[in-house]
Amino acid sequence: MPARPTLLKILDGLAILMLAVATYFALVKAPTELVMGQVQRVFYFHIGTAWTALLGFLFASVLSVIYLITKNLKWDLYQVAAIEVSLVFFLITIMLGSIWAYPAWNTWWTWDPRLTTAAITELVYIAYFMLRQGIDDPDRRARFGAVYALLGGISAPITFFAIRLYRTIHPVVIAGTNPKAEGGFSMTPSMLTAMFVALIAFTVIFIDLYWNRIRLGNLQDKVEQLKLKVMV
């Protein structure tokens, strides 16, 4: 087994360090929010994971187009890795949101556009993995996966617009005003710092996990090839 590249080792260390720093900023450094109190602190990680997960899904849609044009299985691996990491990050986003929503909105869940879109997006990509699981031929798996990821990537924003037909109470903290929003707040400079630290931290963690996942995929392929060699 080839050793981990040095750069990846450094990135692993950096990811752990950044997680610690972001936790410190979110839990200690940032001031306690006046109305909501301590629970508002989940916001930093909520934003951090949401941001990276959504970018990851977007990235995966671009990769599926590249795969469909080039038909090189390398792009398929990049795509699966992006969706896998994003799926976990997005699940964390939703769970953190729920933890915040219970005290802020007095309910774990509400059928708000953002929440509903998030749930549907999560379901699209779970369906994506179920689809892949049902196909043995790697080329066909890659083709179907790419087409489905593309459909999912296009339908998610449309879903968001469609649910705008119904009302929203989700606060838009960054550059947005929604008079009906509940639980919104304006950020002090040190809150902003904590948010940006969390954003950077989760971006680093995402890249680190992504790289490790691609490496894992390559190793998997190698194992498959070795198995075939032994059988022959």
Binding site: L68, I120, L123, V124, A127, M130, L131, G134, I135, D136, D137, P138, D139, R140, R143, F144, A146, V147, Y148, L150, L151, G152, I154, S155, I158, T159, F161, A162, I163, L165
Partner: protein, 263 residues
């Protein structure tokens, strides 16, 4: 499971058709395909040939239609008990009940229409035909749309009679047409995928519903607006959304279909 659909990589669809094709023939076929692609008259002919084949098979067997229809009526019956459809509830949930019924019956039809192609090896024959693959796609979309519209055409009067509500309004019929187009376009593409996997019977709704949510949402919103008699401005947004969804997804499905059937 009638037949294992998975194949070893490299083994082509042609090979399991018990009718090996020489490279020369393949070349001739692709040349033929290029020729056919050049003329749009032949494209329409190919589309209508696929549509006609499906309609004729259905007229002879009546399997799909009767299954979809009975299934829809049963769903309406279940909703009747589940929601206690008294006069007051009826006004607010009619469009929801209708679209849930259409969506479920639609999956049934989509699954079946692709499964028969796969089981009897018809799809191999279709793919060997010297026509553009997208002609096959549009043919299948049209035949699925026809079946769905026929089922809807029967469900609407039945629902109208059972619940004493007039569903025959031009606006509603237009919304139903627009919604069905989007649903069937994506559904045909995903059904073609689902039948080629191991869990084909259960996979289609799981793949289709999350992607089709926008079309169902917009259709429900527009239908209930029309049934409540609101002015057109209020339902313009969902109707525009339906049109946009139809255009986008017909285009995407058309462009990606080749990847689904290619071997």
């Amino acid at each position: 499971m009638a037949k294992d659909v998975t194949k070893a990589p490299g083994e082509s669809m042609v090979a399991d058709h018990a009718n090996p094709v020489s490279p020369r023939e393949t070349a001739e076929r692709s040349a033929g395909r290029a020729r056919v692609r050049a003329s749009s008259g032949n494209f329409l002919k190919a589309v209508s040939a696929v549509l006609w084949k499906d309609v004729q098979a259905e007229v002879r067997s009546r399997e799909l239609f009767s299954a979809m229809l009975v299934f829809s009526l049963l769903i309406i019956l279940i909703f009747n008990f589940a929601l206690e459809l008294d006069i007051k509830t009826r006004q607010s949930v009619t469009s929801g009940v209708l679209w849930a019924t259409f969506a479920f019956a639609g999956t049934l039809g989509l699954n079946r229409s692709m499964a028969i192609e796969k089981d009897r090896g018809c799809i191999d024959g279709l793919l060997l035909a010297p026509v553009d693959r997208s002609a096959i796609f549009f043919g299948k979309v049209l035949s699925n749309l026809v079946f769905m519209l026929i089922v809807e055409a029967v469900v609407l009067p039945v629902y109208s009679v059972l619940y004493n509500i007039n569903l025959f309004q031009p606006g509603l019929l237009m919304v139903i047409l627009l919604g069905s187009i989007g649903y069937v376009a994506v559904g045909t593409l995903l059904a073609a995928m689902a039948v080629q996997t191991r869990m084909r019977d259960i996979l289609l709704p799981i793949l289709l519903f999350p992607v089709a949510i926008p079309v169902l949402l917009a259709a429900v919103k527009a239908s209930s607006g029309i049934l409540a008699g609101v002015p057109y401005e209020e339902i313009q947004f969902p109707i525009n959304l339906l049109i946009a969804y139809d255009l986008i997804f017909v285009a995407v499905a058309f462009m990606t279909f080749e990847n689904i059937v290619e071997e």
